[in-house]
C-alpha cells in the first residue's frame, strides 16, 4: 500500500498537535486554578481523575508534560528533514505508551474516566500512527 504524501502526513500532524495543545492546556489551566476539568458529558469522572495521585508526576501536572510533547510534535510537523521525522516518531511513541498506561489506570485503578484524558489519548494515538508512517515511508529519502 502506498503511503500518503509526506505533506499530507505533516498537515495531519499539525492539526492533531494543535488540537492536543488545546486539550492539554485546558486541563493544565483547570488544575492550576485548584479545580479540575469539567466533563462535558456530565458526571464526576474528570474531577476524580484530576484529584487522583496519578494526575501529577514529581509534583507537576502531567498535562504540562502533555503540552510540551504536543509542542515538540507541532514543530516536527511543521519542519522537514530526517531529524524531525525521527524526533516526532520517538516523542509520539513516548506519548502513546504513557497514554496507554494512563487509560489503563483510569479503567482499572482509578475507576473513573475523564473525557479530556481520553481525547488526549486518542490524539496521541493518531499522532503516533501518522508519525510512524511518515518515518517508515520517508526517512532517509532525501539527502
Amino acid at each position: 500500500m502506498k503511503a500518503p504524501a509526506e505533506g499530507t502526513l505533516r498537515g495531519i500532524g499539525t492539526f492533531l498537535a494543535s488540537f492536543g495543545i488545546g486539550v492539554a492546556t485546558y486541563i493544565a489551566i483547570a488544575d492550576s486554578g485548584g479545580g479540575s476539568p469539567v466533563c462535558i458529558a456530565g458526571g464526576h469522572g474528570c474531577q476524580t481523575v484530576a484529584e487522583s495521585s496519578y494526575s501529577h508526576l514529581a509534583g507537576v501536572n502531567i498535562a504540562i508534560f502533555g503540552i510540551a510533547g504536543y509542542v515538540v510534535l507541532l514543530v516536527c510537523a511543521l519542519l522537514r528533514g530526517d531529524a524531525f521525522r525521527m524526533t516526532a516518531f520517538v516523542v509520539s511513541l513516548i506519548g502513546f505508551g504513557y497514554s496507554l498506561y494512563l487509560t489503563y489506570l483510569e479503567l482499572f485503578t482509578i475507576d473513573a474516566v475523564c473525557q479530556w484524558c481520553v481525547a488526549s489519548a486518542v490524539l496521541m494515538t493518531l499522532l503516533f500512527v501518522s508519525n510512524a508512517v511518515r518515518m517508515l515511508a520517508y526517512v532517509g529519502t532525501e539527502p
Partner: protein
C-alpha cells in the same frame, strides 16, 4: 559518435545506481537509528510508569492537613459508633458517603461545619455516617477504617480528616 553516446548513457546509469545505493544505505542507517529511538522511547515510558506508580504507594502521615481544625470542630461533641452528637436528638441526619467521593468532600468542607456548630453541638440534631462505597476498590478499606475508628469513638474525626486530605496527601 555512437560510442560516445553509449559511454555517456553507461555513466548516467552508473551514477543513478550509485545514488540509489547511497539512498538505500542512508535509509537503512536511519531506520536502524529509529529502532534505537523506539527502544529509548519504551525505556522512557517504563521509567515514567515506575515513577508514577511509585508515588501512589501510600501517604505520609506528616503531610496530613487540617488535623487541628477537625479536632477543634468536633471537640466536646459526643460520638458513639458513627453517630456524632446527642443519640437521642429529635433530628438524625444520615449521610450515605464514599470517602473517595469529591462531592462528599465538598459537602463535608462547605456544609457540615455550620450544621455541626449550629445544630449538632447544641444537641438538636445528630449526624450518622453510613458507608456507600461506589467510587472504587480503595473506598472499602477507607470505609472499614472509618468504622474501626468509630469503634474507638473517633469515627467522625477519621471521616472529616479523610475528606480534608482527599486528593492531597499522595501528590
Amino acid at each position: 559518435m555512437s560510442g560516445r553516446r553509449d559511454r555517456e548513457a553507461r555513466r548516467e546509469e552508473r551514477l543513478s545506481e550509485e545514488q540509489q545505493a547511497g539512498t538505500a544505505e542512508r535509509r537503512q542507517r536511519m531506520v536502524k537509528l529509529a529502532s534505537a529511538g523506539a527502544f529509548l522511547a519504551l525505556v522512557v515510558v517504563a521509567v515514567l510508569v515506575v515513577v508514577s506508580s511509585g508515588g501512589s504507594s501510600g501517604g505520609d502521615s506528616g503531610n496530613i492537613v487540617d488535623a487541628k481544625a477537625v479536632e477543634s470542630d468536633l471537640a466536646g461533641i459526643p460520638q458513639k459508633g458513627m453517630v456524632l452528637g446527642n443519640p437521642g436528638a429529635k433530628v438524625a441526619v444520615l449521610e450515605f458517603g464514599d470517602l473517595q467521593c469529591p462531592v462528599c468532600k465538598g459537602y463535608s468542607e462547605e456544609v457540615l461545619p455550620q450544621v455541626i456548630e449550629n445544630r449538632v453541638r447544641g444537641g438538636e440534631a445528630n449526624l450518622d455516617f453510613r458507608n456507600f462505597t461506589i467510587i472504587g476498590p480503595q473506598s472499602k478499606p477507607a470505609g472499614a477504617a472509618a468504622l474501626a475508628a468509630g469503634e474507638q469513638g473517633r469515627g467522625w474525626n477519621f471521616v472529616e480528616l479523610f475528606y480534608r486530605n482527599r486528593g492531597l496527601g499522595l501528590r
